[in-house]
Symmetry: C2
Subunit: 350 residues, 2 copies
């Protein structure tokens, strides 16, 4: 979806890498995360400072091959290595459908998927909090409270194009990714802001063992892209392109079109989001999540994903998110042409 922005404004974001650059494994041996490119770290801190969506002071930055790898690094870092039983990993329903598979695919003795946080009983756990939440778009907080429980905050969607920025998030481990913030999924770069030094060290160790660092080419490219976004707001005379304004307008437009067709067909319902003050734009705004969490209200269509599929609309069934078959998740980030076809096909249902 953000491709059209970068096509229009991408000249400044172009990167040139000569054959002899960034050949070493190392980026900054004085840094705890020794494979983090200093320029990328600088642009991460700058962008969070500009947007006001996360506290960066006194935080360690750990870079990863997307937030998927960082999520596993955080599980590793938070798991006691001498535990007799794997630590339960939980998240409130509906949770991101990849969490169970990514947690369990190696049958790790350190951690184990344990399902819905609301159904969990115990003092030792790792709770995943995705906010705004994938799939339903709501702002979330940890469900459980315990002195020994740990949390990982997946803040991939806490950016102004998706929701109001109410205050800088301030949690122990916060995950972000280029794919959702700027649209550069293929670059496979994410970052974690980590409060505790020992946890940051263990996350770094995971990435060292798992992939011996993170592509420097991608880090340099992501640094350039974050820089162009910040420049657009801080030096509007030199770069006349406001990425988050483009993003929010585009998302609002898509959500308005989706709500209209849902109203007209009467078969589905959508989550309703409150309007909130956004400290970044100074406006009051609703949420325009990256996914629409569609509920089939029609009795003849209780398997929502299957019903939509019969109209050639590809979604992910609610069952993968710990929810019912009557729910389905639809991407709101596809290219304009694809989104247009999706809306047309929805209209064809009535």
């Amino acid at each position: 979806m953000f491709e059209s922005f970068w096509r229009a404004n991408g000249e400044e974001a172009t990167i040139v890498i000569p054959g002899w650059q960034t050949m070493s494994y190392f980026s900054d041996v004085s840094n705890l995360c020794w494979f983090l490119e200093p320029e990328f770290a600088k642009q991460i801190r700058r962008l969070h400072g500009l947007v006001g969506n996360a506290v960066v002071e006194d935080r360690h930055i750990v870079v990863g091959t997307g937030s998927t790898q960082l999520f596993q690094a955080a599980l590793y870092a938070l798991s006691p290595s001498d535990a007799l039983q794997p630590i339960p990993v939980i998240s409130a329903v509906p949770y991101y459908s990849s969490y169970p598979a990514v947690t369990d695919f190696l049958h790790s003795g350190l951690f184990r998927w344990a399902g819905d946080a609301n159904a969990f009983q115990g003092e030792n756990y790792i709770e995943l909090v995705c906010s705004p939440n994938n799939p339903d778009g709501f702002m979330k907080q940890a469900v459980l409270k315990s002195d020994t429980g740990k949390t990982i905050h997946d803040l991939a969607y806490y950016w102004p194009q998706y929701t109001a920025i109410s205050s800088p998030a301030n949690h122990d481990i916060m995950l972000f990714t280029a794919s959702k913030s700027t649209g550069h999924a293929g670059t496979r770069v994410g970052w974690a802001l980590v409060k505790d030094q020992e946890i940051a060290k263990r996350m770094t160790k995971y990435i060292e063992l798992n992939s011996l660092g993170v592509s420097k080419d991608s880090q340099l490219r992501a640094a350039k892209i974050l820089k162009v976004i910040s420049d657009g707001y801080e030096f509007p005379n030199s770069i006349d392109a406001k990425f988050f304004d483009f993003g929010r307008n585009h998302m609002r437009n898509r959500w308005e079109r989706l709500r209209e067709v849902v109203r007209e067909t009467g078969i589905f319902s959508l989550p309703e989001f409150p309007s909130e003050d956004c400290s970044f734009t100074g406006d009051r705004t609703s949420s325009f999540p990256a996914f629409a969490w569609v509920k089939c209200e029609w009795e003849n269509a209780q398997d929502c994903a299957a019903f939509l599929k019969s109209y050639n609309i590809l979604t992910r069934s609610g069952k993968h998110f710990g929810a019912g078959l009557n729910y389905a998740r639809v991407s709101m980030l596809d290219r304009d042409e694809t989104f247009d076809v999706f809306i047309q096909r929805l209209y064809s249902i009535k």
Copy 2:
């Protein structure tokens, strides 16, 4: 070490990526490995064809974030998911020091490090064969033979700068990496040549779950670098730079200097490699491995790494490779200045 080559010949290897390129997760949805950039696949096949170091016909290519990630993908792919016990992972001593840690750090229920292949008894196992071997530089073959045993061939160093190319390697799973073939460690890109389609699918699944693909920026850059190397041999009129010739000459020179100082000091010994016909160059050549596997012959220096450290020479102790303290591994790939200092410090011992 290869940086000086790329500084002299890197103009052609420069890559330019505009802001709007390679934004999607997908590279080629028609390919089994859907995140593999087609141009990178093409240049991989072309370079192996030119060098003659591996069979590429009827092989699936799986791309990874370095061969470290691919190694884990291969363990995952070869492990029965319904086994009651983790499958033993073994390698003949001296083995690459990272194998045990990378195999075991997640306490996987699928696979478990089991040490020296020569000491192993059983029919079910995954044997790691590194050839030329890290740390000792010798060409290796699988130690065990069993109908149910599996092998992973780590061929990171099977390139003309390190050894004679005797024939195209032809194994079930062969791992390669840009960091050792071209010197671009920071790009974090490796590739596997895989015979069996189901194994290639499972390796792809691992990388999907572990990092949702591999940096496209890095793949495009690596494609460009491999292309420049092949062009240097196939179109010598347009590119007057022969990477492997540069590499072999440089490595030979370093090994000659190392052997000379080892001879003069009389405290150490080095492996002796036979000369072999190289099908790529048509010459007879010895091996010039990426690491020197140094043995302390002096009675007063039985902890070789500690002894060398007292002369400010950083090595990795033989104990990490399943071998004795009297061995240490030295990198032969550092920058010229660092290598010069290393040789000077060795002379200071006598």
